[in-house]
Amino acid sequence: MAALAAAAVLSAVLASRRALALAVSAGGCLAALALAAPPAVQVLLGGGTRTLTWTNPVLGQQALVLDPLAAWFVVPTLFISTGCAVYGVRYLLAGDRPVGMQAAGTNLIVLALLTVFLAGDAILFLAAWELMTIFAFLLLTHEHDRAEVRRAGLLYLVLTHAATSCLLAMFALLSIHNGSLRFGTGAALSPGAASALFTLAVIGFGCKAGAWPLHIWLPAAHPVAPSQISALLSGLVIKTGIYGLLRATLLIGRVPMTCGAVLLGIGVASAVLGVLAALAQHELKRLLAYHSIENIGIILIGAGLGSMALAAGRPAVAAIAFAGALLHVVNHALFKSLLFLSAGAVGRACRTLQIDRLGGVLRAMPRTGTSFVIGAAAICGLPPLNGFVSEFLVYMALLAACAVFPVAGQAEAVFAFAALACVGGLAAACFAKASGAVFLGAPRTPAASDAREAPGAMVGPMLALAATCVIAGLSGPWLLRVLDAPVQQLGGVSLAATPARQGLIATAALGAALIAIAGAIALIRRGLLHRQPAESSVTWACGYAAVTPSMQYTASSFARPLIAVFRGVLLPQRRQIAAVAPFAATVAVEEHSPDPVERFALDPALRGSGVGLALLRRAQPTRVQSYVLAIFVALIALLWWRLG
């Protein structure tokens, strides 16, 4: 951590030397990785905790605690932030804005992230939490001369802070109950109090995580940030919400089953609505942002189910559910940062991320494109990649829960199971659309056809992440070992004692089998084709000869049937300029699906309270007589109230 702080200071000082500052920042991340990863991995493998305590004169004892749960989040943070920082060097140098803030901020936010994970007392946690919010805000408003960037930044800052108020209340109540600000274990609270605290935690952490319906900041903020910051935000920062929730479940202890059920419900809503909204997006990073909501939903399904299972006294089910949630945290961090990084590379090369203006980028940017496709397959949960493994655990936990829960829980688990299936299908549709329209086919605009492959310093982190996605998908037995300690901490039993053990091993083996069989088929195919040279031709267009790239099926059309099916949820708005005559010059159809929460809840609420406050302000007196009158009236009123 010291290395990070030093690097932050150094890169802030070096702000004027752009390249150097960024390099120092990346170096800082690397140093932190080298220093902090070994103890974290040790804790994961060996269990146990490491603690560093000191005493604060006004707040009492404070501590940094590295326990398995913290370590589980620390390790990916170190790796991914390093990748993002390396990527950022070349990415930011291509722009013309000052980079000092970015360089220092990247280190500082990683520092804040690590502190959030390691904090052993409420104040340290909350301080790091808020600092993380500030740094994230400063990083994502890199291009703050653009109004939309400022708006997104503001939305992020204000919403997450409002949610943090709940956390302040929660930790304050918890510390009052425990008599200390230090984190304890499982406060023995009455069910009512536990539910209240849990609710506060869900609101506070849910907003940061991007859980529906508190997610509105997320699709606004991610697209406007520099890509490596989007990756950091989506990969790591929103995960702190999950970490917080899991930590809170540990701190609060036993909560009634309804709490977990509500969390599960939020998870299902986030997953389904997130993926549907993603389907309707036209901008690549915005689409990815909505997928973050979807994946957070999947994680929350796991977390909520785990909590339900603990309440129902089914630790084995809880262990599988928590394992799924935890694993998905890391997996999502991996493939989502991979996707954002590759999207950033495309945006930088083509100067647009409007999906319908791209196309065929894979041939110009083979490594970036391949990374993206791997990430896309991973995020859809397709075997043999890593996304599957964690979703598999969540599915399994849901099925297991079906068998053992009381009937209401059973019904909810079944519902979640079906919803998750639907989400899987929709995610696949959405990423088929995204990768197809951006990377495949022919370029739709000159910007897309002029694309060049990104420099090595940007491609390197992407390829590394892509490779990790593949490897993590095939390393089930190893995952079983590293997951064991944090899962035990949360669920109380070892993962190895659950059916998940066989599942993890078998999926890894079959994943390898899949790759082997595909390889074999590919070899056979090559052998067959070897005899006959392959020919090249234009795409068969059913007899039509003059095919142009603009005739390709667009991403919007691609998603259109599904949007039509779900129009009751998405409420698309259509703007159409119909052809009035043959050969009309302008014919246009536009369809947008603004976020219903934003459209029907946030905007009217803001507008309404704005009007209300303006009315109140209009009542403001301006004369000194009125000022004194106010005092006079207040005096009489108070005397009346207290003495009368």
Binding site: Q625, V628, L629, L643, G644
Partner: protein, 217 residues
């Protein structure tokens, strides 16, 4: 005998206060205040004579009040008035009749309020507290209802007289120095207000605080 004198002084102070509510001429308001201050200044002496000997403290209080409030303050106010062209309250925020009616109500309220607050020790006169409250209320009412800056200062001063009366319940609680400090502060306050009125006069060509309402959100 002294009791009667004390009561007369107190009632006179109240009447003068009510009179200042009813007048439209600024000069008269200042005069009423000065007379009221004189009445109030007598009160400590009258209280002390009731118990026999007159303390130095009471004398100092009397002299200081006479010098600062009865002569000093009106002098300054009249001086700042000299610059002004308009010397009558033309358009009060609340009409004179209404003000008087409200004033009467407030006086009644004050008598009621005084009943709620029984003194730990029996005061020199049972009119002391109600009238002190009344002066307080009248002063505030004057500030609230009038538009001329000078009238507002007068209102503030009448309020101050009321507080002074309260202070007389326990003469020796304020050491001399602090008592003098209080009076001096009051005097300086009026001095500063006078300067500001002078500036207002010059800047806005009137001393009407009515139009001082450009500061808002």
């Amino acid at each position: 005998m002294t009791n009667v004198a004390l009561d007369i002084a107190l009632v006179l102070a109240l009447v003068l206060g009510v009179a200042s509510l009813g007048t439209s001429r600024l000069g008269a308001a200042i005069r009423y205040f000065s007379m009221q201050a004189a009445c109030v200044a007598m009160v400590p002496l009258l209280i002390e004579t009731r118990s026999g000997e007159l303390s130095v403290h009471a004398w100092i209080l009397f002299v200081a009040t006479m010098v600062l409030k009865v002569s000093g303050v009106p002098y300054f106010l009249n001086r700042s008035l000299r610059e002004a062209s308009v010397r009558t309250e033309i358009e009060p925020l609340i009409g004179f009749g209404t003000t008087l009616a409200i004033g009467a109500g407030l006086v009644a309220l004050s008598f009621g309020l005084a009943r709620q607050l029984p003194l730990p020790q029996k005061p020199a006169s049972d009119l002391l507290i109600p009238i002190a409250f009344s002066l307080l209320m009248i002063g505030l009412l004057l500030i609230v209802s009038r538009t001329k800056a000078v009238t507002q200062v007068v209102g503030y001063l009448i309020m101050e007289n009321g507080i002074f009366l309260f202070g007389l319940i326990l003469i020796d609680v304020f050491p001399y120095l602090i008592e003098i400090g209080v009076l001096l502060d009051l005097f300086v306050a009026v001095f500063v207000m006078g300067i500001v009125i002078f500036h207002i006069n010059r800047a806005f060509d009137h001393i009407d605080s009515h139009q001082l309402d450009s500061l808002k959100d």
